[in-house]
Structures are given as structure tokens and as C-alpha cells.
Symmetry: C2
Subunit: 452 residues, 2 copies
């Protein structure tokens, strides 16, 4: 007998089916035992009637949540008044004939059978081996898988080639301090903070490239928005006419992700009580200076000489734009050249400001990118001005020595976007196995400290 997935039961009314599943909830009503069965496709209610299936009833008495079972049963239509509208399979019930236990489970440390898994974050993570099974937790990672998949699908359809950016780096790509050091045989190496320079190299060969890869930041602080290991979604494209080509591609990628989430994850979005942010036909964009001016005009707060938007500015400019255009999204471009990485392209008409950009949504940064310098001489001038050691970025510089078209790209973090879309309180909820200063699976305080 072939296995029937739980979501398929509604199409099998009147049939006998074989279901393989976990016990999600068991309710003993004395005379009857009700079981909520859970497999990858959904949850369905089943009932064991002692009179008609005495042996199955005997087994059912032994069952507890998370036991793994094979059951054979008949799919019955429920009477209209008993339909459970909260359940996709709420129109049917399985009348169990046989139960076979495939694996037993110990008594659970907490209740897993409710719609919300109301656990403190440390408990949630200390029990990741169990909590990942909860439908609302699985929903987070389904949304994340769709975000990542659509990023790839969309870019592939525009001739972008996937590449694998390295994780072990010879030196700090962007000169930052917060890097992890690796003992590499007799040498020192580092964990990559960004695939930026690699993606520009690969772009110089393939024109349009993307990668989904890990980046690592040794943030010495514990915040709700930082992890030490995150999944970075990176794209880079050659032969642009202006930075707006990059902006448009980034906008289209995000739009495509949002559309697919709406289509494929409506159930998951509903679980979190969220709706997809509004992206209008053409996302507005403005320079940093324009944004600061608007903030000044709106609230009188004068941030016109600041080199970036602070969180309050980000919230305010998003509110202004929402009011004016209906858009939850806004691109901000044109940051002070000196305060950004050496490879960002300065605006030729006003080189103090660059053609870097950020996409904000509802007060939060979703994505960063912009046009890069493609001319070798200009790049070398910046390398000197930024006091970079050209020896340490030799491979990168070589690409530009031999002809690179006008180009740009963008990047965003998978966990960050998952968190923002589902309005999670902490980015740790958007990572299956979050790493931070205090945790690698286990809390680090409980492990032996490194000898200095």
C-alpha cells in the first residue's frame, strides 16, 4: 500500500489510506482516542474507536506526542458542523484501523501541540532538535527557503550565473576589524566577511553572477539583529548604463520574492499575522541629501549634515514616503564617498557623493548595493587614498587591470529579510542554528574557555 500524504487525504474521502506521521497531539476521551497526525504536508485529525479496532486502540493508549507511526485508516467526510476551518484537512477525519509504531518518543519538555510555541528564546534554541518540528517554526524556514530560491530563480532567468564564493579568506577584504581568525596549517587565515571582491572578479568573467554563501562577522556585542554567521545573497552585473540599472534589478528581485511569498506562503504569512509590504509600480528613490531635507521639512529635525541615516531617520523617511506615495519601500542613494568602501563609484558630477544605495522598507534597511568603480586607474587612486594594501587584493586588482565594464551589484541577508517579512523580534528566530557571541548550538558560557 502506497503512502498517502496528509494534504492528500481530502482527495481520498471514502478510501482506505496508509499514513506515515508523527503524533502531534493525542486526546483521550475515555471512549475514543483522537490523534492529530503530522507529516511534512500538514496535520489531520484521526480517531480510534475501541469497538471496531480494539488492537489499534490498545496501541493508541501507549502513544504520546512525537511518536512516529504508520496507520491504516478510512478517510471520512466530517459533518458540516464538525468541519475545522483552521485546518486544511478540516473537512475529513481518519478512522484508524491499524497502528504500527515506527519510533517512540520520550515525554516532551514542553507543550508542542499549540498554535504558538510560547518559549523563551534560549529554551527555543537549547531544544532546536525538537522545536524545529513545530509548524510555526517550520513556517519560518519555509519562507526563508522561498526567499533564497526565488533570488536564484529570478536572477537565473536574467542570465546570471551562480558561483561559489569562498569562506576561507587570506586577509580582510574590507579592512574591517571584526573578523574571525582561523588556524590554517602554519598560517593565519580569516573567515570571509563578504564575497564582495570575489563577486566582482567573477562578474568580470561572466558579466552577471550571483551567489548564496555564508559570511562571518565577529560582532563583539549581542543585539537582536546580528549573528556571527549569516547567509548572504549577492549579485553583480556588468554593462550597466548607470547605477539605476542596479537599483532596478534589485527592486525586481525583491518584487519577485514578495510575489512568490504571497503565492506560496500565504498560510505561513497568516500564521504570523503579517502581510507582504506594499511595493508600488516604481519604487521611489531619492538622494541622502534629499531625504535629509525632507526629514527637516517634515519634523524640523536637522540631520542635513550627517553622513548617513540613523534608525530614527530611516523610520521617518519611510513614513514620509508611505504617506506621499503609498510605497513601503524607498531607495536612498548618494552617500559621502569618503565614508564608504573604496570600490563604490563616485558620482562624476559631484564626486563627494557616491552611487551607492540602500533599499529601506518600513524603517529598516533590506538591501545594499550600488555602482562600483570599473576603471583601473580610478580604482588604484582609491586604493591609495583609502590606504589599502594592494598586495592583499592582488587577485581583485588584476581583474580590473585587464578591462572591466561599468558595473554594480547588491546584497542582502537571508535571515534579516526573513525576520523583517515575518516581523520576528529577534534574528535568531530566523536562523535554524544561530551563532552569536554567546552561542554555538549550546550556550558558550557552559563550555571551556579558550586558553589565551
Amino acid at each position: 500500500m502506497q503512502r498517502t500524504l496528509i494534504r492528500e487525504t481530502v482527495r481520498n474521502v471514502g478510501n482506505e489510506v496508509l499514513i506515515k506521521a508523527w503524533i502531534d497531539v493525542r486526546r483521550d476521551h475515555g471512549k475514543l482516542i483522537f490523534l492529530d497526525l503530522r507529516d511534512r504536508s500538514g496535520i489531520v485529525q484521526a480517531v480510534v474507536i475501541p469497538q471496531t479496532s480494539p488492537e489499534a486502540y490498545k496501541v493508541a493508549q501507549e502513544l504520546r506526542p512525537e511518536f512516529v507511526v504508520e496507520i491504516i485508516g478510512k478517510v471520512n467526510q466530517r459533518p458540516e458542523k464538525n468541519v475545522n476551518k483552521d485546518l486544511e484537512t478540516g473537512t475529513v477525519e481518519i478512522e484508524i484501523k491499524e497502528i504500527k509504531i515506527l519510533a517512540k518518543a520520550e515525554a516532551l519538555p514542553f507543550d508542542m501541540g499549540r498554535a504558538d510555541l510560547s518559549l523563551e528564546l534560549p529554551t527555543l534554541l537549547d531544544h532546536r532538535g525538537l522545536t524545529l518540528r513545530h509548524p510555526k517554526i517550520r513556517a519560518i524556514f519555509k519562507v526563508q527557503a522561498v526567499i533564497i530560491d526565488e533570488f536564484r530563480q529570478y536572477l537565473k532567468s536574467y542570465d546570471f550565473v551562480e558561483f561559489q564564493a569562498p569562506s576561507i579568506a587570506p586577509a580582510v577584504a574590507e579592512g574591517g576589524a571584526q573578523v574571525f581568525e582561523v588556524s590554517y596549517f602554519e598560517h593565519k587565515a580569516y573567515l570571509s566577511q563578504s564575497p564582495q571582491l570575489y563577486k566582482q572578479i567573477v562578474m568580470s568573467a561572466f558579466e552577471r553572477v550571483f551567489s548564496v554563501n555564508k559570511i562571518f562577522r565577529a560582532e563583539p556585542s549581542v543585539t537582536t539583529r546580528h549573528l556571527t554567521e549569516v547567509v548572504s545573497l549577492d549579485a553583480e552585473m556588468a554593462f550597466i548604463d548607470s547605477w539605476e540599472d542596479v537599483k532596478d534589478m534589485a527592486e525586481n528581485v525583491v518584487r519577485s520574492i514578495l510575489k512568490r511569498l504571497e503565492k506560496e506562503c500565504s498560510k505561513e504569512l497568516k500564521m504570523f499575522g503579517v502581510t507582504i509590504p506594499k511595493m508600488i509600480d516604481k519604487t521611489p528613490f531619492m538622494s541622502l541629501i534629499e531625504a535629509q531635507q525632507k526629514i527637516f521639512e517634515n519634523s524640523g529635525r536637522d540631520v542635513r549634515n550627517e553622513k548617513d541615516l540613523n534608525p530614527e531617520d530611516e523610520r521617518e523617511i519611510c513614513e514620509i514616503v508611505k504617506k506621499e506615495t503609498g510605497s513601503d519601500f524607498i531607495f536612498i542613494y548618494g552617500y559621502p564617498t569618503k565614508h564608504k568602501p573604496f570600490y563604490v563609484y563616485p558620482n562624476p558630477e559631484n564626486p563627494e557623493f557616491n552611487e551607492g544605495m540602500d533599499l529601506l522598507c518600513k524603517g529598516l534597511e533590506w538591501l545594499s548595493g550600488g555602482r562600483r568603480i570599473n576603471d583601473f586607474d580610478q580604482l588604484m587612486t582609491h586604493v591609495k587614498e583609502w590606504k589599502m594594501n594592494p598586495e592583499k587584493i592582488k587577485l581583485f586588482l588584476e581583474a580590473f587591470r585587464y578591462g572591466v565594464p561599468p558595473e554594480g551589484g547588491f546584497a542582502f541577508g537571508a535571515e534579516r529579510m526573513t525576520m523583517q517579512i515575518l516581523e520576528l523580534q529577534n534574528i535568531r528566530e530566523a536562523s535554524m542554528f544561530p551563532r552569536d557571541m554567546e552561542r554555538i548550538d549550546e550556550r558558550l558560557s557552559s563550555t571551556v574557555k579558550q586558553k589565551k
Copy 2:
């Protein structure tokens, strides 16, 4: 004027087109200058005629390989006798009217304009910023991108969910010695050698999962088949009836990859003079003991008491199977339980041998996997017998404490498979930025050694 990709020129005979490209080769015939233009879609020949386009001719005299240009020109059909059958665009030639230089290039350190880039491996890698542009090098990474993409596509179509396995690990998952140590704030951490235990945890929540992620091995030797950082393609599935379900899924994934390569990469395969290995309708499989017996019968070599096949055995058994069945592939299963990891499922009828398996092709291992132990008590018995520290795999063990169905999975390396399909001599050719004991981008001998 919209850009026309080079592969589209053949559909634009008689039209004026805008092409954006690199100069692949420039041939000055005194009167005429011929340019091979290269973009992401292909190569096309163009000609500059001084009489009709004197300004373009002046610019063309300045061009060298890898200059980036925008050209406007007319697509002319070539006379039959001038058709270049080696080129997809060999039926046309672009008559250039205008040339604009987008970026200049220095004189190349070696010839990039031939079908083969005949460089020693160290030179090839020292100049990765340039050599990646060569069509035959790009072909390697197109093949690799298709392998990885098809792995995902196929598994997604069978309800497998993608997850992101962590790279930073708290302890050595499989107790091996060859791991890289990371300074993690005040603690020690390691780079993950395998997502094995994580994928089993995630499987216990999602039933069917896969991941494409980095694994790291501190191999203290330099061979043609090992890198310190590789891309591992991992899958795991619950509710199997036997290890053969895992074998069949692995076979179908590989079959699907081979089919797609044949369809989408025929040009690339041809560049390397290789054909796809033969996978017959049902790939043969035999136990290690049967394979050893066959080798004994075939050549008299007695390896019947060895705990594994050595490279010579692998070649011989593949030859025997090829002769007997026509298949280039063979599954070997049933290895001595004690010599394999603790989580591999012992054959219930003969527990000295397990239900682990390898897929061999033409004498080389392509993929490994098998059924895993799902019963918690059996797992704990193995943990003890294998002298594992249960505290170090707490998260993993927790998953099994609460009910896991019969399950199994498999894994293979993207670089290894790319190398084997294209019959490359060295796995470093199958990695854009290969890391080994002696190299992270630059050769490490030239960098400062770590102070002990």
C-alpha cells in the same frame, strides 16, 4: 539603441546592432582589422574597414585583447565558403561602424585567445582574476552551476526543503582530527567537516531536506583530489522502507544531473572532449563482499577480507560491471559496521555489516550515503561503543529522543563531480578559488607564517 547579445546576432542579419563586449582577439591585416568580440553569450567576428569607417578604424588600431567596447555595426551573412563551423555565430560577421572604448586593458601576461589555455596550474591560479574569462575555464563553472542547480531542482520536485547548514561548529561532529580551529571570541570553535548531524536534525522536522554548503577539511597533504574548502551537496529523507529507497533517490538525482548536462552543456562537454557516463535503466548494486568475490574471480586478487575497496579494487569492479551490464555506475553497499561512523544503520540480519553505500563511476567514488540509525536506544548504544561524548552531540541526540522515522541520505562534492565529468586532472581546476595547504588565492609560502 538596445544591446544585442552576441548569440542573437545570427537572428539579426541585415540589421544594425549595438554590441557590448570584450575584445577576445584582434588581428590586424594591414588594410582590415578583425576583432573577435566576446560577451557572456558567445564570440562573434567583426571587421573594421578603414574606407567606410575611418574613425572606428582609428579606435580599432588602439585596441588590445580584453579592452571593453561598445560597438555599432551591421550584421552581414558570410558567404558559404567563409562560414566558421566551430563558432555558433560562424555564419555572420559584424561590419563595425562605431567603436567606443568602455575600459582599457594592459598587455596580457599570456595568450588568452586560443581554444586551450595551456598554463601550468600555479600560473592559472595566480592569475585567476584573468584566467576565469577564458571560455574553456568558464565552461567548467557553467557545468558546476548546472550540477548544483539540478541537484536542487530535482529534490525540490520531490518535496525536499532546502536548509542552510552552519559552517562554524562547536565541536568535531565525527570525531576526526583534521579540522580547522577558529578563534571565537574567548572560545574555540571549528569549521564544519560535514553537515551530517545537522541534516539529520532538520530531516526530523521536515522529513526531506537538502543543503548546498561548504565543508572544510584540514588535509595536511597536497593531492590532486583534495581541497580544504569544498561545496557539499547533501540530502536526507525520512520514512524510507529500506536503504534502497535512499539508493534510488541518489541514483535519480545523478541521472537527472547527467541528463541536464547533456541537454544544456553539450558545447562545454565537447570543449573537454568528454561524453556523459552511461547510466543504464537500473544501476546495478552489490554488497562489498560480493564485489570482493567478483574481483577475486576476475583477476585472482584476493581482497575478500579487506574492510573497504581500495582504488585498484574500485577500478576493477567498475570494469567488471561495465563488461557485464554496460553500466558505468555501480552501487556498493554493506561495509563493516565498526569501520564506519556511529550513525550508519547496521543490517539487522547481519549487524557486522551496515547499510551504508557508495556510488562508483569508472573507478571513482561519486557519492556516499546510506540508511542511518533512527532508534534512540540503538543510537545511544552506538554512541557508547564508538566512545563519542554525548554532551557534544546533544542537539543531535535530542532529535532522536523524540521520535525519528526510518531514514537515510547521501552527499557528494560539487568540485569532485565537476572534475570527474570533465575528466580534469586536478580538482583545483574545478574550484574558482581553490584553497589547499599551500594556497589561499596567493601561494602561502609567500605570506608571513603564523607565530606559534
